[in-house]
Amino acid sequence: MFESLKIWLHQGKQYIPDVETTEVPGIFRGRPVIKAGVSVDEKALQELCPMNAIDVNPLSIDLGKCSFCGECAFAYPEKISFTKDFKMGHNIRERLIIKEGEDQPIRIDADAVRKEIRRLFGRSLKLRQVSAGGDGSCEMELNATGNVNFDVGRFGIDFVASPRHADGIVLTGPVSENMADSFLDAYDAVPDPKVLILAGTDAISGGLFAGSPAVRRSVLDDIKVDLYLPGNPVHPLTFVNGVLGLLGRMKS
């Protein structure tokens, strides 16, 4: 008993008081900035990216495809830099594309959020996670959102065991052929209205697996996606802020 209390005491305060303004330790690579007015060999830059995330005319990085490896910033430091801004979630797919010269915070487009989402889930959102070819890292980060550091439970956001208890699905992975039908089963089992969140590069675009005959991304064609969360894997703070933004709960 006393031993346990001692351990408890030794932990001190571990939670992050403000998940919106906290700073990520170290050299986190978040929202990138492509500097305008610096000329580089754009074709070579495009060719360098292992994820085909870089496009030209205008020069842009698609956060839905980016693995955040930072190779482009190492090769062209005067042109590309990654900020420590972890708020990268958006509800519109095209808005994940960062164009040359853009250096604005990414904020959810409130007008494009279905009204019932904020009305019904604004104070309590229960999510069921489905991994469909995810490599395990996104899954571990989603688990971490519930630990004592990030503690999403304090916002009324929780992961639940059954789709029947859930208000929506968080999908990770490129959607492997073998999981495609099971994903649909789980999605269909969630009562309406429901949300779908794509967490991580693989889920958003398929990543390096996009063209593989072993994945079936067409299952996503007819489903409304409510939130895209970039990252490889998605950082817990990207998740928390993205979901809070979707629910209209951000302070800023």
């Binding site: 050299i27 955040f68 469909a132 980060e141 989603l142 990543g207 390096l208 697996f209 593989s212």
Partner: protein, 501 residues
């Protein structure tokens, strides 16, 4: 022929035996406890219909070498199954059967391994032929592919007598992404390096190091000592981070909330350290063939020591309490036992093998890079239960901390060399085979590459330790209550995507 870890062999130098000779050689090599199969696969010979080359790699831990045995067969030949002699070969023959329709006569059950997209027999993953027992007194419990927690998918089919598990069959393949084929298709070095980091998201350093060694050895590039030391530091740090997280998971599964919370939060500074080093909590982007973007600086060394100084007292305090608590011990002692005999039979590797009294650790038996020079002794437990696998993690964390301290000291004494003239693209010698073994936190990782006439990849084979160890979990739960399954599962913590590839 005998090869060593990270060696490249010209295909022309490999002796291809008749299948009968191949069979007896493999059979004989595996009769020794210190030998085990690290990979066994087939490569289609494109010019001849139905013809395949078989490659079997058997590591000998006592001699520190790997026996490369090869044969050329036609799939219409009647091939005696080696699995019938050595159970540890079961997934490899099943894979060859699934991919190429090669039939192994006498294999206990040539079931589909992962319902890969290119399997010959077609069919649907939902049509899997489960083992059944016809009885009025038994019942089946099916779990998955989607599990209750946030975890990768797999299907578990239990046959139970009341609460007791008589039999567990684990059906995998749900995570299959065709990653081995993508290694061949994606030509850029950086794409392949990125793929290697995504084989199993919890073993980024382990798999990326194996790939880096393959690329470097095929290019004939001598990896400098300082770079190998940095990679070893990363590998040990990955071990510390995952083990800490697993101890949290084990506490969750025995409803020990304090342990769950404390180990969970202790994992955070361990993965955040990776982020400080390379910008990713999972060390994605840290390991690159022929280079590093993130040199391990004096400042990082100091930062590591400071992080550990804060972590270690809390970690030890929590672990000592956990392993002293009757309510925890009663759940993990004598639960989920794998005997040494079973471990040997099924070819268990890594942490679960060492927990069952079987010393299998490639850092010691087939060392590479920095592990050749650094002094350390792998930890071995004998009880083979959840307790042993949990305790193993506690002790391995402490051992890895010491190991990193030694590696950092060594790194400081090692002169950094200029590697700016190293290859920047895939540049491999033609018609060769390369093998690389690394010891991830879970156990032995094996990558094998075969190049064509132009030096391009003709075949890339990956083996995560999970390939051997999933059967270990299935055996461990026999005779246990079904409510003990989660704790047994967590104590192995195997990879789904690492198996399904």
């Amino acid at each position: 022929m005998k090869v060593t870890n990270n060696q490249v062999i010209r295909l022309a130098d490999i002796e291809f035996l008749s299948y009968d000779n191949f069979f007896s050689n493999v059979n004989e090599a595996l009769n020794h406890d210190e030998a085990h199969c690290v990979h066994y696969f087939a490569k289609p010979n494109p010019d001849r219909d139905g013809e395949f080359s078989l490659f079997c790699l058997i590591a000998n831990d006592a001699h520190h070498d790997i026996d490369l045995l090869a044969s050329v067969i036609n799939k219409r030949d009647e091939l005696q199954s080696l699995t019938a002699q050595h159970l540890c070969l079961h997934p490899f023959e099943r894979e060859m059967h699934e991919l190429y329709d090669i039939c192994f006569v006498g294999h206990p059950w040539l079931k589909p391994l992962r319902y890969s997209h290119d399997r010959k027999a077609g069919g649907d993953i939902y049509d899997y032929p489960f083992y059944e027992i016809d009885s009025e007194e038994l019942h089946r419990v099916g779990v998955g592919p989607i599990h209750a927690g946030i975890i990768e998918p797999g299907h578990f089919r239990f046959i139970c007598e009341g609460e007791k598990i008589l039999h567990l069959e684990i059906q995998l393949g749900w995570q299959h992404r065709g990653i081995e084929n993508l290694f061949v298709e994606k030509k850029k070095l950086l794409q392949r390096a990125t793929l290697s980091e995504n084989i199993a998201g919890d073993t980024v350093v382990g798999h990326a190091t194996a790939f880096a060694h393959i690329a470097e050895s095929l290019a004939g590039w001598n990896t400098p000592e300082w770079l190998e030391i940095e990679r070893a530091i990363a590998l040990e740090q990955e071990r510390i981070a995952v083990h800490t997280g697993d101890l949290s998971g084990i506490c969750t599964d025995v409803a020990y909330q304090l342990g769950n919370a404390v180990f969970g939060r202790l994992r955070t500074p361990m993965i955040n350290y990776m982020q400080k080093w390379c910008g990713s909590r999972f060390a994605k982007s840290l390991i690159r063939p022929f280079k590093t973007n993130f040199i391990f600086t004096e400042q990082l060394a100091e930062e590591w020591q400071n992080t550990i100084d804060k972590y270690k007292p809390d970690f030890v305090e929590m672990a000592e309490q956990m392993f002293d608590l009757p309510s925890v011990l009663s759940r993990i002692e004598r639960t989920g036992i794998v005997t040494k005999e079973n471990a040997l039979n099924i070819g268990l590797v890594g942490m679960p093998a060492k927990s069952s009294g079987l010393l299998r650790d490639t850092r010691k038996s087939h060392p590479w890079g920095a592990y050749k020079d650094v002094d350390f002794q792998p930890i071995v437990k004998t009880s083979g239960d959840v307790y042993a696998r949990a305790r193993m993690r506690y002790e391995e964390v402490l051992a890895s901390i010491e190991l990193i301290q030694r590696l950092i000291a060594q790194r400081k004494e090692t002169v950094m060399t200029d590697i700016s003239d190293a290859p920047r693209t895939w540049s491999a010698q033609p018609e060769s085979l390369a093998i690389s073994l690394t010891e991830g936190w879970r156990g032995e990782i094996c990558h094998v590459a075969i190049t064509d006439k132009e030096g391009e990849l003709a075949l890339y084979k990956i083996k995560d330790p999970s390939m051997h160890n999933w059967l270990g979990l299935a055996l461990a739960v026999r005779g246990n209550g079904i409510s003990d399954f989660p704790i047994c599962n967590k104590s192995f913590d195997l990879s789904y995507c690492g198996h399904d590839l």
